[in-house]
């Protein structure tokens, strides 16, 4: 049994402008100690997946499919049951740590909170444990301070401490490097990796940065317009992409010619018929605009393209 398996996960947001299909038919498997990156441009639905797994989406979202964690379907659980999974079994790190931490509580109280909530251990012991973790993460003495007194990087450390203090089985990081400068990106990734390997957790790294994906994951899922278009071993996929979108993404990187992908991201309310990438695809065929390709598996490499069948 896999640790986590998404089967045909689809997310739709009902908005006054129409229904936004943020994720369509996403299926993937995460094994223990696995590191998986989900990449794609802004709005492709990668963060939606992470939030759908923990059922953190707003009320106007309707989620179908299933999210199987150790044989249990998280989507079918009661709110009470899923709240016992959140933070303890599956934890998430958000991209904006300074806004994700409560402005009026001390860092130490926030980091120790999961211990109180999930384990019900005495406050003093929880605080003691949180102090130890903060020290280990290089935040000695910051526990008595409030989020507004710390830098963004320190807040991120605090949030990582907070999300990992219960040694969850799965750690999800939602764009943890967004808005950080290069040296900070390296620090953040090292921190996440050390926390992950120390607790033996699996990692889902959500990022738009291919270099981050390359350095932090064994496997990668490339998303476009709510769909997984290519999935496989990170190095294989990024060094030798099969899907035209992955190729185009690769070529838009500064070290690969900086060539932008022609056209615009399609509307998620009314996505293109057939293959969703076909209006921008340099290799399109007739069938591409008519029929939607499925995600085909060849030797562990999944590609959603008519050319790769």
């Amino acid at each position: 049994m896999s640790l986590l398996e998404l089967r045909g996960l689809s997310v739709r947001f009902d908005t006054p402008a129409g229904s936004v299909r943020a994720a369509s038919d996403v299926s993937l498997v995460l094994e223990e100690h696995d590191t998986l990156a989900i990449v794609g441009e802004t709005g492709c639905g990668k963060s939606v997946i992470a939030n759908a797994i923990l059922r953190l989406l707003p009320e106007n979202a309707s989620v179908t499919g299933s999210v199987i964690y150790r044989g249990m379907d998280l989507l079918k659980m009661s709110e009470r049951e899923i709240s016992r999974i959140r933070g303890r079994e599956i934890a998430i790190v958000f991209q904006n740590p300074s806004a994700a931490l409560n402005p009026v509580h001390r860092i130490l109280d926030q980091v120790s909170e999961p211990l109180l909530i999930h384990l019900g251990i005495p406050k003093r012991r929880a605080v003691h444990e949180a102090e130890g973790l903060l020290r280990a993460l290089g935040l000695n003495g910051a526990g008595r301070l409030y989020p507004f007194q710390l830098s963004g990087g320190m807040n991120q450390r605090a949030m990582i401490a907070c999300s990992s203090i219960l040694r969850p089985k799965i750690l999800m990081a939602d764009e943890p490097t967004k808005g950080l400068d290069q040296s900070m990106v390296k620090n953040a990734l090292e921190l996440i990796e050390s926390v992950r390997s120390e607790s033996g957790a699996s990692l889902i790294m959500i990022t738009h940065d291919l270099d981050v994906a390359l350095s932090s994951s064994d496997r990668i899922a490339v998303m476009y317009c709510g769909e997984i278009v290519e999935m496989g071993r990170t190095e294989d996929v990024l060094c030798n992409p099969d899907h035209p979108y992955t190729k185009a993404l690769r070529e838009s990187m500064p070290d690969r010619g900086f060539r932008p992908i022609p056209g615009n991201t399609p509307s998620m309310i009314d996505p293109p018929e057939g293959c969703r990438f076909h209006p921008r695809c340099p290799f399109k065929m007739k069938i591409c605009s008519r029929e939607r390709p499925s995600l085909n598996n060849s030797c562990g490499r999944y590609v959603r393209c008519w050319r790769c069948i």
Binding site: N102, V104, P114, I117, Y146
Partner: protein, 308 residues
């Protein structure tokens, strides 16, 4: 630094307190003596001089400050009593009438408002409707209406104020209806503000993160949102304490109670400067004290305000 600000405010307000009654139209002497009393001009001048009203304003102002520092608020010719004991006596009743509603209203309003903002259900919607109706009805109208129903028709409460002052039970019997009414008013306002505040905070990222950490439902509200959402209420409650004395005016009039509101009203009618000034002085001190307490509370609840 803060203290200096309060001292300066006190000084400015007390100076205004001196100026405003003197800027009002109408002659003090005429009011004091009554319209039909005819005195010779000499006698009027004599009295004027005795009371210091012939002095230039600058000197009156200096005397005003001297007397304030001596805790002497003057003598009321209308009530035939020194002002300070008069005001203190009335204040007692107003405090008894108006302080419980501020506290009950704060507790009830913030708690129910927080729950209503947290979850939308038919019962909270009904609650919001009821509080909104109370909030938008003029207090004196609701006071009259309830007096008519509970006092006149049902006879549950007395029609008139504290005249039969006596045992504690008797006093409670008298102030029950006005206290309930004012509590509901204060609660309805706090309810609306708190509800809006919680709705806003509910959408914040830290609330989502609290959920992601595994907090269950109202744990998020009480452990994370409440303290952030209550900040705007603190200012309002501080203002409430300032307005207790003047704000109870309508209620005191309707229920014929002899409190500060009634006192200020009669002082206004008779241009009784000393009583007006004395009352305003008390209100000023109350407002500034309440603000000081609010500032301290803010600092306690919100670390970002602390030490600034």
């Amino acid at each position: 630094m803060n203290l200096a600000r309060y001292v300066i405010s006190l000084f400015v307000i007390l100076s205004l307190n001196f100026a405003i009654p003197r800027a009002m139209p109408g002659d003090t002497m005429t009011n004091l003596l009554g319209e039909d009393v005819i005195l010779s001009d000499d006698l009027v001048q004599e009295i004027r001089r005795e009371m210091g009203l012939d002095l230039p304003l600058r000197e009156q102002y200096i005397i005003y400050w001297k007397e304030i520092l001596r805790m002497n608020l003057g003598y009321s010719y209308h009530f035939h009593s020194p002002v300070l004991p008069l005001v203190l006596e009335r204040m007692k009743w107003t405090l008894l009438l108006a302080a419980p509603p501020v506290i009950i209203g704060a507790l009830l309003g913030t708690l129910l408002g927080a729950l209503a903002g947290w979850r939308d259900s038919p019962s909270t919607r009904l609650q919001t409707f009821i509080f909104l109706t109370i909030y938008s009805t003029p207090p004196y109208f609701l006071a009259l209406l309830s007096l008519y129903i509970f006092g006149f028709h049902l006879g549950w409460v007395p029609m008139k104020g504290f005249y039969s002052t006596g045992s504690a039970g008797n006093i409670i019997h008298h102030i029950m209806l006005p206290v309930i009414l004012m509590s509901l008013f204060s609660a309805s306002r706090n309810y609306m503000i708190m509800r809006g505040s919680v709705i806003q905070e509910r959408r914040s990222l830290y609330a989502l993160y609290a959920r992601a950490k595994g907090l269950y439902d109202s744990q998020i509200l009480f452990r994370h949102l409440f303290r952030n959402a209550i900040l705007p209420i603190i200012t309002l409650i501080a203002l409430d304490f300032g307005f207790i004395f003047s704000g109870a005016l309508f209620i005191e009039m309707v229920f014929s109670m002899h409190g500060m509101g009634n006192l200020i009203y009669s002082a206004l009618m008779y241009r009784d400067y000393p009583v007006l000034q004395g009352s305003f002085l008390i209100i000023t001190i109350m407002v500034i004290t309440a603000n000081m307490i609010a500032d301290a509370l803010y600092g306690l609840l919100d670390p970002r305000v602390r030490g600034r």
